[in-house]
């Protein structure tokens, strides 16, 4: 199949359309704006609807309304805009509505900068909005993977009736890469009819009410338990990660996602030529986090290095997975500055040269 050279943001838009996304609501913000522009151009060509909202707050609530009416819907923004959408994300989760939300992350906090960042990890995976809820969070490390994950994101949103966040760093949005858009394929999960959607009540089903309000505490607790059971199923069934090869010798385990994983992979090639046994465990699903895979790989290594464009957010999940069993090191950059391969190489060599690690301690 033909490959197309395309910018990440545009590829994300095209992948969404091919996944059956019918409506897009958004607001301009760098470095996400090309998704908005692409959708404004492309969606009408395929019979879809594009609305430029007055704010991210409005866009995310339009998303809620359209999701409740049973259509495949999407919005995209970048960090400060995603913060504004957190109200609707909590309502989407509470009312169990399927929607895909792309965050092309930039550096924060506050207005921060327009260069890439990975500092929205905690917001995406631990809540962000109010209440006990989780979003499925998927993080691509290439434009091709962004395209593939977008396809699955809509199916997973429908299957779980839950918002799915696609967490791209600004690098994924802005780079151009050759991409293959897959042919029509069946959904990655079995999908039923949306008989819960507000499509007009003909009397042939219970009245559809999209709602997250339960004034009776017992009913609200029961609703919460139902949601938690769903998040438990996601944790059991939706873990996605890549590497390391269980057959390879392993002194240093590198854990990273998105652009930082890409940089780390380059560094590992350099380290390999120097005879260093280091390998990457790349988290693709951030919620659920591949805790077991990280713990298993860490057990084979002498030390762990976490690489992020943040002050250490995924680091917390790695610590929870590995505990005190191995020393865990962190390499991070902020302000929109990418981690460079030589930074990873230096960190890896320094960690493995430390006396405690050389003697094989830490087990």
């Amino acid at each position: 199949m033909a490959r197309t050279l395309i910018k990440g943001n545009e590829a994300i838009g095209e992948a969404a359309i091919r996944a059956g996304c019918k409506l897009f609501f958004g607001y301009p913000i760098t470095p996400q704006t090309e998704i908005l522009e692409y959708m404004s151009r492309r969606l009408p060509q395929v019979g879809g609807t594009f609305v430029q909202a007055e704010s991210e707050l409005a866009a995310s609530n339009m998303l809620y309304g359209a999701a409740g009416a049973g259509e495949r819907v999407m919005t995209a923004s970048s960090s400060p805009g995603i913060s504004l959408m957190m109200e609707a994300v909590s309502y989407l989760a509470g009312a169990e509505l399927p929607a895909v939300i792309v965050n092309v992350m930039r550096a924060g906090p506050g207005l921060g900068g327009i260069l890439p960042g990975q500092a929205d990890y905690l917001q995406a995976t631990k809540g962000g909005g109010h209440g006990d809820y989780r979003c499925l969070v998927l993080a691509p490390w290439s434009v091709q993977e962004a395209v593939d994950l977008m396809r699955d994101a809509f199916d997973l949103a429908d299957y779980y009736r839950n918002p799915v966040l696609v967490l791209c760093d600004g690098v994924m949005g802005q780079i151009m890469e050759p991409v293959e858009f897959a042919d029509e394929r069946s959904p990655c999960r079995p999908l039923g009819a949306k008989d819960w959607a507000t499509t007009g009540w003909q009397g042939d089903r219970p009245r559809a009410v999209i709602n997250s309000l339960y004034l009776d505490p017992d009913r609200l607790q029961a609703h919460n338990r139902h949601l938690q059971a769903k998040y438990d199923r996601m944790t059991r069934d939706e873990i996605r990660c890549a590497g390391p090869d269980p057959a390879e010798p392993l002194d240093l385990l590198v854990v990273a996602y998105g652009a930082s994983a890409r940089v780390s992979a380059t560094a590992l090639e350099v380290l390999k030529t120097r005879g260093v046994a280091a390998a990457l465990c790349r988290s693709i699903s951030l919620f659920p986090f591949p805790s077991a895979a990280v713990a298993r790989a860490a057990a084979r290594a002498k030390a762990v290095l976490v690489v992020e464009m943040s002050a250490g957010q995924m680091l917390e999940d790695v610590r929870l997975a590995v505990g005190e069993r191995r020393p865990i090191h962190f390499l991070g950059r902020q302000g929109g500055i990418l981690v460079m391969p030589e930074d990873v190489v230096d960190a890896a060599e320094r960690i493995l040269a430390a006396p405690a690690v050389r003697e094989g301690a830490g087990g």
Partner: protein, 268 residues
Amino acid sequence: MAEIAAFAKPASLEATPTHYCPGCSHGVIHRLLAELLDELGIRRRTVTVLPVGCSVLGYDYFSTDCQEASHGRAPAVATGVKRARPDLFVLCYQGDGDLASIGAGEIVHCANRGEKVTVVFVNNATYGMTGGQMAPTTLPDQETTTCPGGRDVDQAGYPIRVAELLSTLRTPAFIARGAAHTPRHAIHAKALLRRAFRCQMEGRCFSLVELLSICPTNWGLPPAEAGRWLERQMIPYYPLGVLKTPDGPDRAPLPLATLPEAAPGSAR
């Protein structure tokens, strides 16, 4: 048995008691809307959007598909529903705290985009659900729990006239203000609502009816007295009538008065 038929419950209302306080206008307004959904035969394609406020439990009362919306966001949610399914009739039911305060941005842009939805704006000059706080529509010197000495216009400004404000926009099709505190006013309100519903059914854009209503509980007045208070205090500030119709040659906003300090040579 014509009398019984006249007082039958509209099919568009569920057979359930409401949580509204005695004398509250919501019950009357719900009935007017339900009667119209029945009479126009659109109940089965209606989605009612109910945001935070006294009417948040409206999904238990309206016998239609419903979406609850977060505080102030009903026009955005309604936009999403209507854009997803243009064949549906989308009814948005908002109070004054919801529409004129926290949702002021959403209502202006929903109206200005000309979304083909109908908004019913219930103005009782206070926050009912949370127990009578100052709203953007609270009248000067009106006492509430957050302006115990009366609304001080030096601090809070003058109340917002939503219908007039939105009528300055070029796009909307129909904007009117009625009241629901007497049978006579309710009949007039129903006629306004019918015209607003018709706009949406005919594929015209945004329509809104503001309805002045009483809140005896939070005003601290018996219902009959509350009605007189509305008559004396609210109607002079919030005049009743039609502010914008779809019948004009274009969607021009209300004409501005000649600007008193227009720049020299300004064309008029």
